[in-house]
Symmetry: C2
Subunit: 212 residues, 2 copies
Amino acid sequence: MNEIFKSIEEAKQQRILNAAYEEFSSQGYTKASTNRIIKKAEISKGMLFYYFNNKQELFEDLVDIGIEYLQTNFFELIDEAESDFIKKYYLASRIKLQALHQHRYLFEFLGNIYLHGDEDKLSAEAMHKMKDWRETGMSRIYNNIDTSLFRTDLPKERVMKLIIRCIGGYERELTEQFKMMDWTKVDLQVYWDEFDVFLEDLRKVFYNPQNI
Amino acid sequence: MNEIFKSIEEAKQQRILNAAYEEFSSQGYTKASTNRIIKKAEISKGMLFYYFNNKQELFEDLVDIGIEYLQTNFFELIDEAESDFIKKYYLASRIKLQALHQHRYLFEFLGNIYLHGDEDKLSAEAMHKMKDWRETGMSRIYNNIDTSLFRTDLPKERVMKLIIRCIGGYERELTEQFKMMDWTKVDLQVYWDEFDVFLEDLRKVFYNPQNI
DNA sequence: CACTTATCGACCACTGTGGTCAATGAAAGG
DNA sequence: CCTTTCATTGACCACAGTGGTCGATAAGTG
């Protein structure tokens, strides 16, 4: 798909990808600056346009590469068979953090495309891929849930929504904290321990006491 | 403080304020464009620099005006005496929505100043005012909570955190939905009804059954 | 009438944009 | 060894957008 770029030194690829993901995810397509990207990636201007012919193609390649990466390094690692929702979500979070470690801004990049109104920069094919990827990915997490574990005084769907909101709120707190520091160097164990406590609380609150 | 601006037609003031809040909150100080502001506010370039001498002063005035507005139209309306946390949070949300109706991007503007790294554009006085405003405002909501209403099998603080995360997640869902549509014209009653159901669920889940 | 105040947008110097390309170094092949 | 191919650079370009100015008016006031 882009032989030249894919044939260069892996570390350099990563530097360019991460710089570009960060720039596009924070600025959106139009305001993203190729100059800032090359500065952050520490390559010359000529090289960027040698690897990717222009801004548009760079963007398209980023989407393709990103989708493929998450496909193999996130969604496919989620255990569809696991039916305990909280456990499954926990495992998914761990995998997500693993992926974030390598491509810190990838999730933000793909998530913000629609937010920035950059859909029109996507080829019909890429758009289809993204939709597909999103749906099958989500279904991997949200399907095959054993709702009989839930407390019974509330409708299943509402329990599930509450759980999702709680975890979402927690994730948001964490990422906001992490934004401040160089979290690739932070000892994550502390945070995982806190996370464990949090999930136990969730169990106590949202599961049927018999099933804890 | 800025007599010229404050003496003009109220509707025009609002148009300018909203346009500026939107621009600064989404772009940050440096990237915010006065050209886009005047276009959105439908005034001429000359007028903007007639009311506010330059970009910097415009920004400072926005902060001052915003803080004052939220002081009288948000924080002071919160009933400090209310000790039922869920009820209080509900009332605060209603007041917030009321305020959002008039200045849609004000909360975002003030909230994002630090995020965008625009603290240096603030005078020491404004900085102090903001800190003060934040702290007393927050304490108005989070102080004087009757934690004896909470379920007793979890530490109070953890129950409270869970509640906050749930409501935060819910608010986020809503604002993301609202971003898509012109929500100043939406019938909000539907959403308030849903919100009521949601809060009842929270009660059931996080309060001691005796106290529901 | 004069004098002040409100309003406009063409204009300015300047910065940053995406993209090009002639020049050079490095590697490979015969 | 020379030639050809590939990798790499950054000065350079036309252009778009920037914050800010200012002389020309129009509107109001006394």
